[in-house]
């Protein structure tokens, strides 16, 4: 039995016509770091708040540690939560904020002090111990919120976009701190974010949602390499995967601009019965180097670079191909200028094929 089991959870808010969360099924093991990702309004927060007990569960069962918790008060569920807007007690010092819950739980004063000392220390808040939240920066505030969560020794941490109010640099460093904290404490964590990079870098497993429905659950690389559908393929990875509308013709696919791409026999086999499909391929699987051009010379394509994004370590090249603006991701040694005419190939085994109607994956990359 898993530590947390969400069985057929549905949520319909009063006054809404549609479910906000539909048939949510998920098992979470102890010590796992789970990320919920998805676009705005897909029901991530709603699901998290149902687990916390701040929203009623319309139907389905929530089981934590073997006990059904649907009707249990939030405080009795054994959870800690970190909120997007910190939710600190503004009139209390850092120390009081962190110790408040312990005091209410009638923990002996000595032990409280020990715990606060420990939390303040590992979070680097020692010199702010007697400050009020309004005198702290965003990152420090979120650390206080983390402190408040970790001193209670709860088995389950819930975090709802805890880093979204921080600037980019701080977000990266806090990301590391949270990951390290998770490794140190080993508490099961559910982390809500709409940032796929956060999900990819931090999570053991990712739950991708759209319109209240789980699209796929899996390890970060699983989702990246083997997306179950076009939505997952497009949501994970930056720059976004290139999607081409193509016709299947014998052992080739034909792009809308007439270019042809030869496919391997095994792929052709799986595409049998499809007239037209969507082909998806990530920017890094478009190759411009001599070796690959030679290897896959039967399907050479031409690109006129019309935009570049220079990132330093790697660069994005944009060009019109197959009816869309395609993007390729190349190393910093393969510099191209705007206006360059270059040849490129698709890595054949890195192509994904999606059903045009259902958008489900027919063949994913090897």
């Amino acid at each position: 039995m898993s530590f947390i089991e969400l069985k057929n959870i549905n949520k319909k808010y009063k006054g809404n016509e549609k479910n906000s969360v539909t048939d949510f099924n998920l098992n979470i093991e102890e010590k796992e770091f789970i990320a919920f990702v998805g676009p705005s309004g897909c029901g991530k927060s709603t699901t998290l708040r149902m687990i916390a007990g701040f929203e009623d569960i319309t139907s389905g069962d929530l089981v934590i540690g073997g006990q059904r918790m649907n009707e249990t008060a939030p405080a009795e569920r054994g959870i800690s939560m970190v909120f997007q807007n910190y939710a600190l007690y503004p009139h209390m010092t850092v120390e009081k904020n962190i110790s408040y819950g312990l005091k209410n739980m009638k923990v002996p004063a000595e032990e409280i002090k020990k715990k606060v000392d420990w939390a303040v220390d590992i979070l680097g808040l020692t010199e702010y111990r007697y400050c009020k939240p309004k005198n702290l920066s965003g990152g420090q505030r979120q650390r206080v919120a983390l402190g408040r969560a970790i001193v209670k020794n709860q088995k389950l941490f819930l975090m709802d976009e805890p880093l979204s109010n921080l600037d980019a640099k701080l977000r990266v460093s806090m990301r590391n701190e949270i990951s390290q904290l998770h490794r140190k404490l080993g508490s099961t964590t559910i982390y809500v974010t709409h940032d796929q990079v956060e999900a990819m870098t931090m999570a053991d497993r990712i739950v991708i949602m759209k319109d209240g429905v789980i699209q796929q659950v899996g390890k970060p690389m699983e989702l990246y390499e083997h997306p179950d559908n076009k939505f997952v393929a497009g949501f994970i990875g930056s720059p976004q995967m290139n999607f081409y509308d193509v016709r299947v013709d014998g052992n080739c696919i034909i792009f809308t601009d007439g270019s042809r791409q030869k496919l391997s026999d095994s792929v052709i086999d799986k595409l049998k019965g499809y007239d037209s499909v969507i082909m998806g391929i990530r920017g890094e699987d478009l190759k411009f180097d001599e070796q690959n051009l030679g290897l896959f010379a039967d399907s050479l394509h031409k690109a006129a670079i019309n935009n570049t994004e220079i990132m330093g370590n790697e660069n994005n090249l944009y060009f019109e191909f197959g009816g869309i603006t395609s993007v390729a991701r190349v190393s910093k040694y393969e510099v191209s200028q705007i206006g360059d005419q270059v040849d490129f190939v698709f890595m054949p085994h890195k192509m994904h094929f999606f059903d045009k109607n259902t958008e489900k994956t027919i063949v994913s990359a090897q």
């Binding site: 405080a75 939560m81 909120f83 009139h91 408040y100 209410n104 408040r148």
Partner: protein, 283 residues
């Protein structure tokens, strides 16, 4: 940046305001100056600028005040009033605060209607319902008791509305965090909501104090026993006594007026803040 012209306009405005406030201050200065004089001096100074100048500081300077404080029960009346104000501040903050909190944060049927009704009550003047209060208190046999005086004064629709407006913008996630910290709803109200809303608590306290201090009608109906009188009623009792001199009358009035002026000058910023913040957008 202010332009030169704006600066000049500001200066002119300030001068006009200063003149206007002096104009309104004249009676107060007159009262203060004459409260230190024997009646003969008041009469003698009446037609000159000396009417606005206090007498020389000598042994008799405070004699009007000393007479009032020693020969009348004025101190007692002051203490009564302070006590009533304290009780009403505490009860008023709790009762109106809880009502305002419910209207701001708790869902219950016809919530918006309730708020409408309370806002309508704000425009009903106290005087129109005071007979009902009086009959009610009389029926309960509470005339001439502190409870009888305090009871109808606790609930104040305006204060409920003030609290509600401030509480509406309190973040919900703090309440959720407190729940996870094993904080009960009542405890949350007292240890979180009120401290987070100090400004409105101060505003309501000041309003309540001024209400109690300045109220004449209600205490004069409820109280007949001299032990329970408030400063305003006591003032009337003292000044209508034939033995009280004009100077002594002015001394009593000064003592009744000064707390009001002090409170306004100390809390003016908070009062403005408290009232202004209630107009802020709803969260």
């Amino acid at each position: 940046m202010l332009t030169k012209r704006q600066k000049r306009n500001n200066r002119i405005l300030a001068a006009v305001m200063l003149a206007a406030s002096l104009f309104f201050l004249f009676p107060v200065i007159w009262m203060l100056a004459n409260s230190f004089k024997p009646d003969a001096a008041i009469t003698a100074d009446m037609n000159s600028m000396r009417a606005f100048v206090p007498p020389a500081l000598n042994g008799d300077f405070f004699s009007n005040y000393v007479t009032i404080l020693t020969n009348t029960r004025f101190v007692r009346y002051m203490c009564n009033t302070l006590f009533y104000a304290a009780v009403l501040i505490v009860l008023g903050v709790i009762v109106n605060g809880l009502a305002g909190y419910a209207l701001a944060k708790i869902n219950f049927p016809f919530k918006d209607r309730w708020l409408m009704i309370i806002m309508l009550l704000m425009i009903v003047p106290m005087e129109t319902i005071i007979t009902i209060h009086f009959l009610f208190i009389a029926k309960l046999g509470l005339l001439n008791t502190v409870v009888g005086y305090v009871l109808p004064m606790i609930v104040n629709p305006f204060n409920i509305f003030l609290f509600r407006q401030v509480f509406v913008s309190l973040p919900d996630d703090v309440y959720e965090a407190a729940q996870l910290d094993h904080c009960s709803p009542i405890k949350y109200f007292f240890t979180m909501v009120l401290p987070m809303s100090q400004s409105v608590v101060a505003t309501v306290s000041v309003f309540t104090f001024l209400n109690v201090w300045n109220d004449y009608l209600w205490p004069s109906l409820v109280f007949t026993s001299s032990d329970l009188l408030t400063a305003q009623i006591g003032l009337n009792a003292i000044t209508s006594n034939d033995n009280t001199t004009t100077g002594q009358t002015l001394a009593v009035i000064t003592m009744v007026t000064i707390p009001v002026i002090l409170i306004y000058s100390f809390f003016s910023k908070q009062i403005v803040e408290g009232v202004v913040s209630t107009g802020s957008k709803e969260g």
